[in-house]
């Protein structure tokens, strides 16, 4: 999923006729000062990062004057923001959204996702806006409505009535109906995986406004969503994950110290589970996929070893279409190119396992090669602990 920044999502909302607060993106405290002057204080300054939970983490501030806006901006910009969703390392804030303040009467939660149960897009909404949906689900599950949409007909009038009723709008509130159907339109037209506005607010003047806006785009649809692809701020992603993507490797950084390299997502997760079962902690998820070449295997090692906390590596390959001997070639290539300074346990099974083992035995580097995955997992945990 490709996440958009709030200010980007709001621009799209606006272009479809959904009201959002007037505001502009600021890259510097000076920008913030100028924008605040133009809008007329008080203004709201919101850190633009690809993670929720900004409010509690100090990423959303009100400034009563333009000078105060500049001051607040200088406090936030360039600093790491650690929220419940960023992980402990946090994300550096490089952009702020400076917006007019709005007189809020009531806050609503509204989102559209792909509902895996019905296999359709579904609206999730709640009159208990402002909180994270997980929180509402935990504390007020009866305050959540789920409304799956038939894609062939779109949102039907009975659903608009049900949503309006549940969210406390008058059934004839045309603006609410317009927002429901328009957000669904954006969801479909932009190939979204998620569209969320939390809160959607009922203003003191009776109108509706999207105070927050989140959009995630289906990365598999980027070939036909070139405009959305351009909005992707890659500085928000983990550099190792981006690097892996280039080589069609699937990589996720975790908090442990045992590097993992496996072919296949399911087997990768099962291998991580096994390491954990034997008392170890995986440092990453790394699926080398069904088309692994010596080059991508070598790249995988490089990415794993970029993480200084890695103490040992487990390679688990079930050779099917991916032949074990080619994986072995890759491993040899890796130790030649990269400084592999931690012990490596290897389990190979399936196609050309024997050939692979003899390749590895000839290598100048000493690998722990095993037949049995359980033994290999135990071994790597032992290696990591003794390293």
């Amino acid at each position: 999923m490709i996440r958009l920044h709030e200010y980007q999502a709001k621009r799209i909302f606006l272009s479809y006729g959904i009201s959002v607060p007037t505001g502009y993106v600021a890259f510097s405290p000076d920008d913030a000062w100028k924008i605040a002057l133009e809008l007329g204080p008080p203004v709201v300054l919101k850190a633009q990062i690809h993670a929720g939970g900004r409010g509690l983490a100090g990423g959303v501030k009100i400034a009563k004057t333009a000078d105060e806006a500049k001051e607040v901006a200088s406090q936030i910009l360039g600093k790491k923001l650690v929220t419940a969703q960023t992980g402990s390392q946090g994300i550096v804030v490089k952009r702020l959204l400076v917006e007019e303040a709005v007189n809020i009467d009531r806050e609503i939660y509204f989102s559209i996702i792909v509902d895996r149960k019905t296999c359709k897009p579904a609206i999730i909404a709640s009159p208990a806006g402002g909180m994270a949906i997980e929180e509402i689900a935990k504390n007020h599950p009866e305050q959540i409505i789920t409304e799956p949409i038939e894609p062939i007909v779109g949102i039907m009038p009975y659903q608009i009535r049900r949503l309006s009723d549940f969210l406390g709008f008058d059934n004839n509130n045309k603006e609410a109906a317009h927002i429901f159907t328009t957000l669904y339109k954006i969801f479909v037209e932009k190939d979204c995986r998620l569209i969320e506005t939390n809160p959607l607010v009922l203003c003191k003047n009776g109108s509706l406004m999207a105070i927050d806006a989140k959009m995630s785009i289906d990365e598999d649809a980027l070939f036909r969503q070139k405009d959305m692809a351009r909005l992707w701020d890659i500085t928000q992603s983990d550099p190792s994950e981006l690097e892996a993507q280039k080589y069609k490797l699937s990589f996720v950084r975790l908090n442990g110290n045992i590097g993992c390299m496996v072919n296949g997502a399911g087997l990768s997760m099962a291998t991580m589970d096994l390491i954990k079962m034997h008392g170890g902690e995986p440092a990453n998820f790394l699926d080398v996929g069904g088309k692994a070449t010596p080059e991508t295997i070598a790249k995988g090692f490089e990415i794993i070893l970029n993480d200084p906390s890695v103490r040992a590596i487990l390679v688990n390959i079930f050779g099917g279409i991916v032949r074990c001997d080619r994986v072995a070639d890759g491993i040899i290539k890796a130790v030649q190119q990269v400084n592999v300074n931690v012990p490596v346990a290897i389990r190979l099974a399936g196609t050309n396992r024997e050939e692979a083992i003899s390749i590895l035995k000839k290598a100048p580097f000493k690998f722990s090669v095993m037949d049995d995955l359980n033994e290999a997992a135990k071994e790597v945990v032992k290696l990591a602990k003794s390293a």
Partner: protein, 291 residues
């Protein structure tokens, strides 16, 4: 007996002149599958591994009586290929393609259901009836005719489990990947029903993973509908929430789809859940020799 595909299945490979399609069409044919036709628009008259290529599925089906399609086209063409196959009267579709836009799959699923088509995938290694027919990219040699019906959201985990099941001596009736995407054509329940009815199948193995609620729904179904012994393995207990673990479908979102609740639901339904992936063969052998 077996489920869905067998030695009389006649396969048309869509996207046969691509690198993947070409390689695997040959592999499937080598395994003994009746691969009777290939389709790539504009390549009619060519041959791939002795298989005649046609411009359209309609023509391929007419000339060769192909009744099942195996799809290898790139993701942006996948919806078109699926609908072309349905239009040509193909009733079973195996879609290997990974990376199809989710909105396309939502639409395809509606058509598939309305037209009564069996759709396997997308993002699947395919389906194999050991010793009869292989429609997919799995290594054929790890499967051996036997009594266990296996289904999986993951490819290599399917191989890992099948390998152990084969080595345990039980072997497989039919094994398949239902697909690693969030929206797939047929779910576990669809296949559990077929395995329950299939006389060759004596036990059912479900390979699940984090993401979605499918394992929980299946557990509920099993409890009241399935008499055969069911085994399961769920991967992803160490996966963090909000992160996509390779498969587009393997993601814990909004606090839902974690491994523990799946394991709990399956156990509650009487399913034998194996926690250590390396103990699949051993556990099944023990349980099945007792029963």
């Amino acid at each position: 007996m077996s489920v869905c595909v067998n030695e009389s299945t006649k396969v048309v490979v869509q996207g046969i002149t691509g690198k993947e399609g070409n390689f695997h069409a040959f592999q499937c044919k080598q395994y003994g599958t009746q691969v009777v036709a290939g389709v790539t628009p504009g390549k009619e008259g060519e041959e791939v591994a002795g298989i005649p290529v046609f411009d359209t599925v309609q023509k391929a089906a007419k000339e060769t009586e192909a009744n099942t399609s195996l799809i290898f086209v790139p993701p942006s063409f996948a919806m078109d290929s699926v609908l072309e196959a349905i239009d040509a009267g193909i009733k079973t579709i195996v879609c290997i393609t990974e990376g199809i836009p989710i909105m396309d799959m939502i639409k395809v699923r509606t058509v598939v259901k309305a037209e009564g088509v069996t759709f396997i995938g997308p993002n699947t290694p395919g389906i194999i009836t050991a010793g009869e027919a292989k429609l997919g990219i799995m290594p054929g040699f790890i499967f051996k005719k036997g009594s266990v019906g296996i289904m999986s959201r993951s490819g290599t985990l399917l191989y890992e489990v099948a390998d152990q099941v084969t080595k345990s001596g039980l072997g497989e009736s039919t094994a398949l990947g239902i697909g690693g995407d969030p929206i797939i054509g047929t779910d576990y329940i669809y296949w559990v029903k077929l395995f329950e009815e299939d006389p060759q199948t004596k036990a059912i193995f479900i390979i699940g993973e984090i993401g979605g609620m499918m394992e929980e729904q299946t557990a509920e179904f099993i409890q009241s509908n399935i008499k055969k012994p069911v085994f399961a393995f769920i991967s992803g207990r160490t996966a963090p929430p909000g992160k996509r673990m390779g498969h587009a479908g393997a993601i814990i979102m909004g606090g839902k789809g974690g491994a523990e609740t799946k394991i709990k639901a399956l156990r509650k339904a009487g399913v034998t859940v194996i926690e250590n992936i390396t103990e699949v063969g051993k556990t099944m052998k023990e349980k099945m020799s007792k029963g």
